[in-house]
Amino acid sequence: MSRALNRRVFLASSAAVASVASGLTLQSAAPARAATGTGTGTPRVPDIDVRKAAQQDPSEATLAEAVVLMRRGKLTSATLTEAYLERIQRYDATYQAYTEVTGDAALAAARKADKGQRAGAGTAAGGLLRGIPLCVKDNYFTKGVPTRCNSYIFEDFVPDQDATAVARLKAAGGIVLGKGQMGPLATTRATLPNGTVTTVNAWTPDNPAVDPGGSSTGPACSVAGRLASSSIGTQTGGSIVLPSNQQNLTGLKPTMGRVSVHGVIPLSFTRDHAGPLARDAMDAALMLQVMAGPDAQDPRTLGLPDVPDLVRAATPVVSRGGAVRVRRATRVGVPGDFLSAQKELRGAFLDKLDAISGITLVDITYPEDWTLLTATFNAARLAERTEPFRHWLRADPAKFGVSLLSWLQGLMLSGDEWITAQRAKNHLLREVLDTLMNRCDVLLQTGPVPFDILGLPEIGFPIGFDAGGVPVGAILGGQPYEEDRLLEVVAAYQAVTDWHTRRPADPAASSKLMRAETVRPRLSAEEVAAASA
C-alpha cells in the first residue's frame, strides 16, 4: 500500500469517526469535494446559457438552468415547485411516476429556499441544489415519508431517518417532491406488486406496453415527463442506465462505494449502487457531486479515491470558433458486437463521436469466456437477495407478490458456488482492466450487467430515436472511480448533438380517461424472474 493511499484511508476513517462522534451519522452532507466553476475550489453551478424554452417554461429547465435562473432572479423555487406540482396533478394519473407526492412539504421547503436565495444558490455555502425539486426512488429511506419499495413487505414502513444520499441532497438544498414508483423490490419495470404495469414510458404515455426501463422507472419518468428537475435511482442490474436510455435521460451509475447505500433497501449487497437519472451530463454531475463521498454508516465508501471535479468534467470544452473537443484525449473502446443492434443509430453515433477532437475509437474483442462470466454468472447475485429477506420468506411469502421466484432461486445456490462466482469476478476484473481497457480509457457496452458485476462506473445517455419515436441510448463504462472521464466524453457528445434537449409531448387524453380506458399489461412471475435486476 502506497503512503499516499495510507493517508487517504486514514483521512477517510478519521472523518468517519469524527462524524459518528458528533452524532452526525447521516448528516455528513456537504459535497465530498470542491467542484469547479470558479477555479477557487468552491462548488458552483457554472453560468451556462439558458435556452429560450427554459426561460419560458420552468419545468423545461435543466437543473443547472434552474439554478442559474434563480441566481439571476428570474425564477423562484416556489414557482418551479408549483409548476411541477401542477404537472403532477394534471398528468401523473397517466404517467404514474410517483407513488407518494409530498407537495405541502415541498412547497414549504421551496418558500424557505427562496428566503435564503441571496445567500448564494448554486454554491456550497448557499446550497448547490438550493430550491431544486427532486424525485427520489421509493427504496431510499425518507424520514417521515412512506418507503414501500413497491412491495407488500414495506407497505406500512415509514423510516425515522433519511438515507445518506437523501440527507446529502437535502442538506445541499434539494427538495424532495415525492417518491418515484419502481419495480417491486427493485426488480423489473414498475408494476404493482402483483405484476400489473403502472408507470409508462413518458415518450409513449398512451401505450403502457412500451418498455420504460426499470427498475428506476418512476424517477426516469418524472424527469422525462417534466414532473421533477432531477431524480435518484438505484442500479443492481441496469436500473439506472436502462430507464435513462429508454426515456432520453443521462443516468450515471457510479463506481461501487462512490455513493453510500446506507438507508437503501437492499437487493444484492455487492451490486447495489445509488446514482442520478438526469436531463444531461451537467445535471448528472451536479447530483453526483452532492451524493458522493465517505459515509461512516457504509464502510464500502471509506478509503477510496477523492471524488473528482465532476462539474468541471461535465463542462464541455469549446473553442472561440465553436469547435468542441473532449477535455482529455480519450480512447473509446467499441466491442465487436456493438453494431449488432440498432446498427444505423449506433453507427451514426460512432461517426459523431469519432469526429470530436481528442476522441479515438478502438476496436475491442471480448475474451472467450465473456458470456459465461457475465451472463451465466449473473445468477450468483440471487443468494444475496435471499439472505436479507429471510424473515419475510418464512413468515409470509405472498408478500413478495409476483417477484417471489428469484428470491427462492437464491436459496438453491450453495456457498461454494457463491465463492466460485466471487473468484470469477476477480478473473473478470483482470480481463476487463488488463486486457480490454489497457487499450482504451472508456468502453462502450451492449448491456449493463458486466460492469454491474464488477462495480465499475457506467453512464447511459441519448443517441437518437427508433422508428416508433422511442428514445435509444448508449452505455459507456469506465475505469474504477473515473466518473469524470465518462462525463467528459458525454459532455463533449452532448455539445455537438441535441438529443438530450428533446422532450416528449404531454399526454393528450385527460388523465382520468386514460386511467380508466387504457389496458395495463401484466407481467407473470416467470417473466419477472427472467427480467429481474
Binding site: 500500500m1 499516499a4 493511499l5 484511508v9 407488500y152 404493482l192 406488486p193 402483483n194 400489473t196 461501487m256 462505494g257 455487492t270 478509503g303 477510496l304 479515491p305 477523492d306 459465461l372 462470466l373 451465466t376 454468472f377 445468477a379 429471510r390 420468506l393 418464512r394 409470509d396 411469502p397 405472498a398 408478500k399 413478495f400 407478490g401 409476483v402 417471489l404 421466484l405 427462492l408 432461486q409 436459496l411 438453491m412 445456490l413 450453495s414 461454494d416 465463492i419 466460485t420 466471487q422 473468484r423 470469477a424 469476478k425 476477480n426 478473473h427 473478470l428 476484473l429 464488477l454 462495480g455 465499475l456 475505469q479 474504477p480 472511480y481 473515473e482 412471475a525 416467470e526 424472474a529
Partner: protein
C-alpha cells in the same frame, strides 16, 4: 509401524460423468432445501391469486427444478485457467467488491 494415513502419493482421481438427476430427484431436492431453509410451500396458493400475483406452488417447483438443473452446475463447473488443479487453487482469490479492492490496492484513481 504401519502408518495410519494414506500414502503421500494419492491415486489419480478419475472423474466419471454423472447421470442427469431425474425430475423426481430434482423435486425432492428442491422441496428439501426449501424446508431446511424454513420456507413453507403450503403458504402459497394452489391456484393463481390475481390479487397478489404470487406464484402458485406448482409454478415455484417448476421454476426451481429448472434453475437447479441448469445454474449451479454451470457456476461450479468453472475454475480459473491454470495448468493443474493445484495451480488453479492459487489463482483468482475471491473479490466481493472488485472495484473497491482496486482502489484499496492503489490501482485506481491514480491515472
Amino acid at each position: 509401524m504401519e502408518s495410519p494415513y494414506p500414502s503421500a502419493e494419492p491415486e489419480p482421481i478419475t472423474e466419471t460423468p454423472l447421470s442427469e438427476p431425474t425430475a423426481e430427484q430434482l423435486d425432492t431436492y428442491v422441496r428439501t432445501r426449501l424446508t431446511l431453509a424454513g420456507f413453507d410451500l403450503s403458504l402459497l396458493p394452489e391456484t393463481f391469486d390475481a390479487g397478489t400475483g404470487v406464484p402458485t406452488r406448482a409454478q415455484v417447483l417448476t421454476s426451481l427444478r429448472s434453475f437447479v438443473a441448469s445454474t449451479p452446475g454451470a457456476i461450479s463447473g468453472w475454475t480459473p485457467p491454470a495448468d493443474s488443479p493445484a495451480y488453479a487453487q492459487q489463482a483468482s482469490p475471491p473479490l466481493i467488491y472488485p472495484s473497491i479492492t482496486e482502489a484499496w490496492t492503489g490501482k485506481a484513481g491514480e491515472r
